[in-house]
């Protein structure tokens, strides 16, 4: 990270506020320091506390200046129309995730004919942001349709926070309270389960018999390799966000089970960042969801995941559509010039549609 020139601190102190100068080491430029200072002040104004406002602003600025992510400092992050609570120990929702979740919701709402029921499974749910936002969008586009969402995470902190987020957004009237929308139609559950545990798939099959077919499997798994974690993550991420949510575990415990079940694949060399995708495809092969969306760390990883798809069992070969979504998948979708922006690439003998603008962000499979 290049050193910030002292003149920048001087200017921040003179033009904005001495507190903006304190934020500079974390924000790196004047504009975002000014914005973050304003947001901190707005947050202090909007929340009540016996502590005087000036002191609270100072405390928050001091925390943020030490490099703690703003979302942990303020405790929230806007996600779509929702407000997601953030706590240390659980990954902060990213704007890219927001973009593809909204695009996914709009895809589901365009289904013809409208489905009689929807069942969605989110693996590695974290704050629960993806199922919550999907629920909000689907309630608007499919009023009356029974929707069942299930979020799974290994971390008990994450599960607690996801439940707290559900309650928080109900109290903010972003989501309807469970009683008013007749509990039989919408169901949102979070459970603490290990994705690599061999009992997961039987458990899922057992817990969701009444829903029948799964409509969507979505996941934002850890996808950063240990080397990348050291070299290419931002300092705030490395120092303050949970490693558990970012870096897949080395293929030990979980990996061995994987080898037992999927001998054919694991004999090949696997990138240390791709461990979760092998397992996700395995789950997809058993549960046979209509659509699968997996967030990936970049173009190379997206290509590797599609190659994995080729090599895996016959269950996942039924997906006729394979797409790579970029950071802003809707960028081409909403425009009439979309046909121009929509590229096509060939990966491992399969034609893959690429949507949107930015870096490769997600792999989308569909059999609809």
């Amino acid at each position: 990270m290049p050193r910030l020139p002292p003149s920048l601190f001087w200017r921040a102190r003179r033009e904005i506020s001495p507190m903006a100068a304190q934020l500079l080491p974390a924000c790196r430029d004047l504009q975002s320091a000014a914005n973050e200072l304003r947001w901190i002040r707005e947050h202090v104004q909007d929340t009540k506390s016996p502590i005087p406002a000036g002191l609270r602003v100072w405390q928050l600025v001091e925390k943020r200046g030490r490099g703690i992510p703003l979302q942990y400092v303020l405790g929230t992050q806007p996600f779509g129309d929702l407000e997601i609570k953030c706590r240390p120990g659980v990954l902060i929702p990213r704007p890219e995730t927001e973009a593809y979740t909204l695009h996914l919701a709009s895809l589901l709402s365009q289904d013809q004919p409208p489905p009689s029921s929807l069942s969605i499974l989110d693996l590695c749910t974290g704050t629960g942001c993806i199922p919550l936002l999907l629920l909000q969008s689907l309630l608007a586009s499919h009023p009356g349709t029974p929707i069942s969402l299930h979020g799974i995470d290994i971390s008990p902190h994450a599960i607690n926070l996801a439940r707290a987020n559900h309650a928080h957004n109900i109290s903010l009237h972003h989501l309807p309270p469970p009683s008013s929308s007749s509990p039989s139609t919408t169901r949102l559950t979070f459970s603490q389960l290990d994705i690599f545990s061999p009992s997961l798939i039987p458990h899922l099959l057992q817990s969701q018999p009444q829903i029948g077919e799964l409509d969507l499997l979505v996941s934002n798994p850890p996808y950063i390799s240990p080397t990348e974690f050291i070299h290419s993550t931002a300092r705030a991420v490395r120092n303050h966000e949970p490693r558990l949510a970012l870096v897949p575990p080395p293929s030990t415990g979980g990996g061995s089970q994987q080898q037992q079940q999927q001998g054919g694949i694991t004999t090949e060399f696997h990138h240390p960042a791709d461990i979760f995708y092998t397992r996700l495809l395995e789950i997809a092969a058993t549960l046979k969801p209509k659509r699968v969306l997996m967030e990936v760390g970049g173009w190379e990883q997206a290509v590797r995941v599609i190659r994995l798809l080729e090599g895996s069992s016959s269950g996942v070969k039924g997906y006729g559509t394979v797409e790579i979504w970029r950071d802003e998948p809707a960028a081409s979708f909403s425009s009439s010039l979309g046909t121009i922006k929509e590229e096509k690439v060939v990966v491992g003998g399969r034609e893959v549609v690429v949507r949107g603008e930015g870096r490769g962000r997600a792999v989308y499979l569909s059999r609809v």
């Binding site: 704007p95 850890p222 290419s232 993550t233 966000e241 970049g298 870096r359």
Partner: protein, 429 residues
Amino acid sequence: MLAAPWVCRSCARSLRRVGISQLIRRASTEAPARLPPALLERARKLTAEHDQLSTALENDFDAKKAKRAGEISRVADALKQFENAKAAVGELQGLLESDDAEMRELARDDLEATNTQLADSSHSLSVALTPKHPFADMPCLLEIRPGPGGTEGRFFADTLFHMYQTYCANKGYRTRVVQYEASDSDGQTGSEGEIALQEAVLEVQEAGAYALFRGEAGMHRVQRVPATEKSGRTHTSAVAVWVLPSFPENGTSESEADWENPESDFYLDPAEVRCETMRARGAGGQHVNKTESAIRLTHIPTGTTVSMQDSRSQQRNRETAWRLMRSRIAQQRREAREETSRQLRSSVLANSQITRGDKIRTYQYQQDRCTDHRSGLDAHNLPDVLRGGETLGRIMDSVQTWLVNKDIQALIADEEAAAAVSSKKEGKK
């Protein structure tokens, strides 16, 4: 003793002449008391339509018809009043020629009052006839930007911003600061603690605010000795104020505000708008944790750009940016349309259009004066104006009257032109 000092004969004569010439009023800024026949014809037509509609409405109710009837009932009422006044004047004129001296005296007394009544009613008739501005019922956005030049203009932009804000607060209008951006150049403040403003957008959320504030659009000129000036010279700078109709957040059924409708001024083809987000450096996704939520929209055909970074939520920034973009484009379209219709009309109205280029008002600090160049009103309590007090209200009212008069003039010109065209056609036949 003489009341006045001695004045020589030739001077006295010239003074007397000046006195006489000053008493004669050569030009009139009032609207014509006599209505042109074309306008009267139109009013009669509309009244006939109104009568027809109201009889139809008595039989069965139709929302569309009722709306139309409501729109033109103003004209019908005004015409009735006008005809009553006219009949009264005619009657009095008849009485004036009567033999009874006492009767003539009474008639003469009444005639004066009735004549003013006639003038009033003809004015209100022409006001009723002027089509309502299509955006008149909408809330508005006041966009304030300093003109080219130094920080002095920026300071004054901030003054204007606070002037409108406090004016709205005094009047009880709900406002919202959409954007308030200080300039990056330096951290000094003006004499009254103003900051150097780069751009500010204030939304007045009152329905009908557009009609109230549309007279404020244009260049506001300031003449004062800046706080930074050392040798005491007066500087002149300018601040541009744009008044845009604000697109209501929840879509109403009004056709103008319906942005989904391609006919509407607010319609934007999403394919023509490029949306950019400020990307984080590095790989993105889980690798970084950015808080930048800025959105920039570019309308490709016109090159209009809007950038928004006020909210932490990118989603909300995007919505605000789209609203602002819609308002700007709608205003541009309307201006373009007005420009073409203005060129079609005669040059009588050349100065009446309010666009961005015209200097409309001067704030003179040394003389404690605020002058509106269109209505010609001089107000002499500048601090009260800048505090958004009653004096500002007085100036804005004078501009309103001026605008209405201009609209009437435009309408008369239009009607006469139309009448001339139709009579020419008939002549050819």
